[in-house]
């Protein structure tokens, strides 16, 4: 099958950019939806020894056949394929995540704020919700304990907030020292991969010093700094090393489209 490399979507680039943040050999807790697809792409592409774990209990999915699409849900039965351990949520969220053994996480969210806090609860307020969302699932559990959080969501003004409408998942909270004051361990370096770019956060030590603000690190091909800034409601910090991200390789695109099984996963704007 020949792939037209010019014809990839920004949603596809988001999944690929997310996958590129996942490192080989690390243990990773993967959230439902696009994160499952991104992490599966990473596992097939450059991180075969990443421990791919989901919160319902399967630890270290290794697809034994490349015929199947990526798992859809965090309790997808196919996650048993090749897995090292078939546990439950006490094992996966309790021992693996809260116990401190998950080195990274891939999560989706409806909103992220300037300090990397995630929102999967609602738009608006509890008393006057614009929209109620499904809730945190395991995101709050993960934000409290996992070292390195990779979040992924389309770049849209309603999703990027100076302060999230509801902080379900602690990032750097209110800035430097926020995590320590709340009683949480350091976290980072966190990333947020979007449909236009990848952000990092301005803290060298996981939330103790630096501004802890979101920093633009990589632009996708064809996206301008202005286009990103227009979408973000605060004056965005830009990395001194801002560069363009490489476009998808043929291998990435072929794998992604196979794993996506005809578009079951790529549902940008679903929230």
């Amino acid at each position: 099958m020949s792939i037209n490399l010019d014809k990839y979507t920004r949603a596809e680039m988001m999944i690929i950019a997310t996958a590129r943040q996942v490192r080989d050999g690390e243990s990773c807790i993967v959230g439902m939806g696009p994160p499952l697809l991104s992490a599966a792409l990473a596992k097939y592409h450059h991180a075969p020894n990443m421990w791919y774990c989901t919160e319902s209990g399967p630890l270290d999915w290794i697809p034994t056949s490349r015929e199947l699409p990526a798992p859809i849900g965090i309790a997808d039965h196919s996650l048993t394929q090749g897995s090292a351990m078939s546990g439950d949520m006490v094992d996966a969220l309790g021992a693996f995540v809260n116990g401190g053994w998950a080195q990274s996480a891939v999560l989706q969210a409806a909103q992220i704020d300037r300090f990397g806090n995630l929102n999967t609860m609602l738009a608006g307020t509890f008393e006057d919700p614009i929209r109620r969302l499904p809730g945190t699932g395991g995101n709050a559990d993960i934000g409290a304990s996992v070292e390195r959080v990779i979040s992924t969501m389309p770049l849209e003004t309603r999703r990027f907030k100076e302060r999230a409408d509801f902080r379900t998942t602690a990032g750097y909270i209110d800035g430097p020292g926020g995590r320590a004051e709340a009683g949480l361990a350091p976290q980072g370096p966190n990333k947020c991969a979007t449909t236009m770019c990848v952000f990092g956060f301005d803290t060298e030590d996981g939330g103790t010093t630096g501004s802890c603000e979101m920093v633009l690190e990589r632009l996708f091909p064809g996206v301008s700094l202005e286009e990103v800034q227009t979408t973000i409601p605060w004056k965005l910090k830009v990395s001194q090393d801002l560069t363009y991200m490489d476009p998808p390789t043929e291998e990435e695109l072929v794998l992604l489209r196979h794993l996506d099984d005809g578009g079951n996963h790529l549902i940008p704007g679903r929230y």
């Binding site: 078939s86 709050a140 926020g178």
Partner: protein, 319 residues
């Protein structure tokens, strides 16, 4: 051994707290609860699933404690009821609900987890919002217990966040197999199931297969809850349809589209419930109706074709 009808009649009461989890849903028991018109249940689970949407339409469920509304918000009726307070709730997480069930199962009054430190869950307006479960948390002296609380650890003085134990009145679940004594065996991703069952006063289980005790006893590691803990075991093939069952069948992804089981509109929900729940006597009737309407093939196509064989079976042995 009894029927789903008898089990629900005997063990599910108006106002009960009901565990129905995450991963292996008993639609057989769900539909029976709807048929019998049980009212005012509180549903608890790490994630509540579309069967809870169904049970909310006629008020079988009107209160929820969960970490995730899985698929339920696709239902406009459900969204509406959350907005106008016909459904009340407090929010937790997948882990904290699972640990609360575990605490209930282990006889502990509460359990510790960091999850809400540094988040808006700790705001008064989150804990006691106008549609929250304040009333359920009323103490004898009239004060309202918090849904979770921060204390200083008596050991090192650091902040610790406590969550109260959950002890549901009744649990419903579908499992791969059980014996007549009610020893329940499950495999595949387990989520919160084990502790949902251990924490509940009465456990109602539908089983895809009923097997002799000797089958259980030669693989005792698959048992998640023993028979003395189980109030009713019911043989229900396809008991989790339209959801799936590891090793037996995949989820029926066409079902909601074909029938309106997604509860997306009031009208569609009404029609689905009237035809497929109230309009069938029991789960066997529901499956018979499915076959009559859509043909046996559609159901048969859901069956898992390849199953996994142990490469070097573990062997117990003692002499």
């Amino acid at each position: 051994m009894m029927t789903a009808h008898e089990a629900v009649e005997r063990f599910v009461n108006d106002g009960d707290t009901i565990y129905s989890g995450f991963n292996i849903i008993s639609f057989a028991l769900t539909n029976e609860i709807i048929r019998q018109g049980i009212k005012g249940l509180k549903a608890v689970a790490g994630s509540v699933t579309p069967n809870v949407t169904m049970m909310s339409i006629d008020g079988n469920v009107n209160r929820i404690e969960t970490g995730y509304l899985s698929g339920t918000l696709r239902s406009k009726p459900f969204q509406e009821m959350m907005r106008d307070g016909r459904v009340k709730w407090n929010d937790y997480t997948n882990m904290t609900i699972t640990l609360r069930l575990m605490a209930g199962g282990l006889g502990m009054p509460f359990i510790c987890a960091n999850s809400f430190l540094g988040t808006d869950y700790l705001l008064e307006e989150t804990m006691n919002h106008s549609r929250s479960l304040k009333e359920d948390r009323k103490r004898e002296d009239g004060s309202i217990a918090p849904p979770y609380a921060v204390i200083d650890s008596p050991f090192d003085g650091r902040k610790a966040l406590l969550y109260p134990a959950l002890k549901p009145d009744v649990a419903i679940v579908h499992c791969q197999r059980a014996d007549e004594e009610g020893n329940v065996q499950v495999w595949g991703p387990q989520a919160d199931t084990k502790w949902g069952l251990w924490s509940s006063k009465n456990v109602l289980v539908t089983a895809e297969e009923i097997v002799p005790r000797s089958v259980i006893a030669t693989e005792p590691h698959f048992t998640i809850v023993p028979g003395f803990k189980v109030s009713a075991v019911i043989h229900e093939p396809w008991g989790s349809h339209p959801s799936g069952l590891n090793g037996y069948y995949r989820a029926d992804r066409e079902w909601a589209g074909l029938t309106g089981a997604g509860m997306t509109t009031w009208h569609g929900a009404r029609e689905y419930l009237d035809e497929w729940v109230y309009g069938t006597k029991d789960h066997a009737g529901y499956i018979a109706k499915y076959k009559a309407r859509f043909g046996e093939d559609l159901l048969d196509n859901l069956r898992v074709k390849d199953t996994m064989v142990p490469e070097q079976p573990a062997r117990y042995g003692w002499r």
